[in-house]
Symmetry: C2
Subunit: 275 residues, 2 copies
């Protein structure tokens, strides 16, 4: 089945969840009107990213039943689509988590907490330790993980082996010294995540300089073979990147003749990886 | 230390090890004269690839102390360089292996047997089950694996975690339906292998149509960040792709602020990958 997948590369306002709800509602409405059935939002789009420390992050944190996720559920119901986005979660344990949700027209389907902490996130957030969820939706099985998680192929394997057809990843890719004549490596790594698993990947980046930190702005939709269908170039613009994605490709892991990218694995030889 | 690394994308003759020794001697000599200190050859460059079956492959197979590897050791000694290449190995057990060697001026340093069998290889070769070797050479720690092995990130992790600075991969990348407007996915995956490990990667592809099978011809030298330094585009031409590579980058796994691409792994959570 071919599905229109959109990544809403917006510019959230640091420390203003109310403003960010409005930004998200507008972007999701536009994407839905353009036909999107899966809409992905950036990491921490409820709060912004470049916190001075834990105390500032806590002021933008919300429980998973707070107003941000309530709104997102309402948007998914109103527009009848699957919505995946990142938010600053206040846990019942009062810890802060860099989290993502998968919601659909029926409501909240899964919460995921980022597991691999980038740079100073480790000073603010508690890392998750649960595997990425795989949610059976109307349009296929969808998983999520967040930004730096994508750089750990062992982690990407987990939802892929569990049958995910689309990995929808909220990201905030900070600018980093780069070669302008080549595709951003954040995108290259996401292409490989797709390709070695035959699983479609959509990554939704952000834009808008925040405390002098800029972003790649490389939101991208990638098919199950690893080809870029839309986006995937650095940009400073807010934009919605959309492509039609054939999620059925991910149901067949054959990659050439007798080869099957999952059953050709030799897991009994990989134990060193878990040490 | 910056080192000149060359991939000799030659066109071996199917079933003619003697001819292939000549082809390799000429290409390695040229690369050495141009200053290369590490020279990489394609997969099965001793024999060609598209065998009708096991019996035909056996006729081109040689033990590891046969004339092909003897020649390669001689070339490494004469030119004082590290040579990594693929050959059709006849084991002491009479099994055939799709193997690679690492040799330097002191002689044979390591033999590796391809572990992940592409397509019909499984009908001809016995898969290896030993991890990729990591060899301490004059110019740094070098590992090898072969072609399809590169598509299993768990496998690439093993030499990277063991300290390899350069992964030298003989490959035969058969042509596959592709988008001409994007970098070949074989190259994209190799870039990600480098990037998620901060380990330089050189892949040496072949050229020359063999029994109607063509090749990407995408030989590439990639730095420890994942950027393509040379090659990496599809071509039908025989060529030697060369770049100066800073192998010291691989000694530092930090990728931004407090982030370290290896120590940020959560191996205790990856056990599902080995099942």
């Amino acid at each position: 089945m071919t599905v229109a997948v959109a990544a809403c590369q917006v510019s959230p306002v640091l420390g203003d969840p109310q403003a960010n709800r409005c930004i998200v509602a507008a972007a999701v409405g536009d994407a839905a009107n353009a036909g999107a059935k899966v809409v992905v939002l950036p990491e921490l789009v409820s709060s912004g990213y470049v916190f001075s420390g834990r105390a500032e992050a806590a002021r933008s944190a919300e429980p998973v039943d707070g107003p941000t996720i309530q709104l997102w559920c309402s948007l998914a119901r109103t527009h009848h689509l699957v919505l995946v986005g990142g938010f600053c979660e206040l846990g019942r344990d009062d810890a802060l988590y860099n989290s993502a949700v998968i919601v659909d027209h029926t409501g909240l389907r899964a919460v995921y907490r980022k597991t691999h902490m980038w740079d100073r996130e480790r000073l603010i957030f508690t890392p998750g330790d649960a595997p990425p969820p795989v949610v059976d939706t109307e349009i296929g099985r969808i998983s999520t993980m967040i930004c730096y998680d994508l750089e750990f192929p062992e982690w990407v394997r987990i939802p892929a082996l569990a049958g995910a057809q689309l990995l929808a990843a909220p990201v905030n890719w900070p600018t980093y010294p780069r070669r302008d004549d080549q595709r951003p490596l954040e995108v290259v790594r996401a292409q490989a995540d797709a390709s070695v698993n035959r699983m479609a990947v959509v990554a939704c980046d952000r834009t808008g300089v925040e405390r002098k930190v800029g972003w790649v702005g490389g939101s991208v939709v990638i098919d199950a073979d690893g080809w870029v269908l839309a986006g995937g170039n650095a940009t400073a613009e807010a934009q919605t990147v959309t492509a039609e994605v054939d999620l059925d490709l991910a149901l067949d892991k054959r990659v050439g003749g007798l080869s099957d990218i999952h059953s050709d694995r030799r897991p009994e030889l990989y134990e060193r990886v878990t040490r």
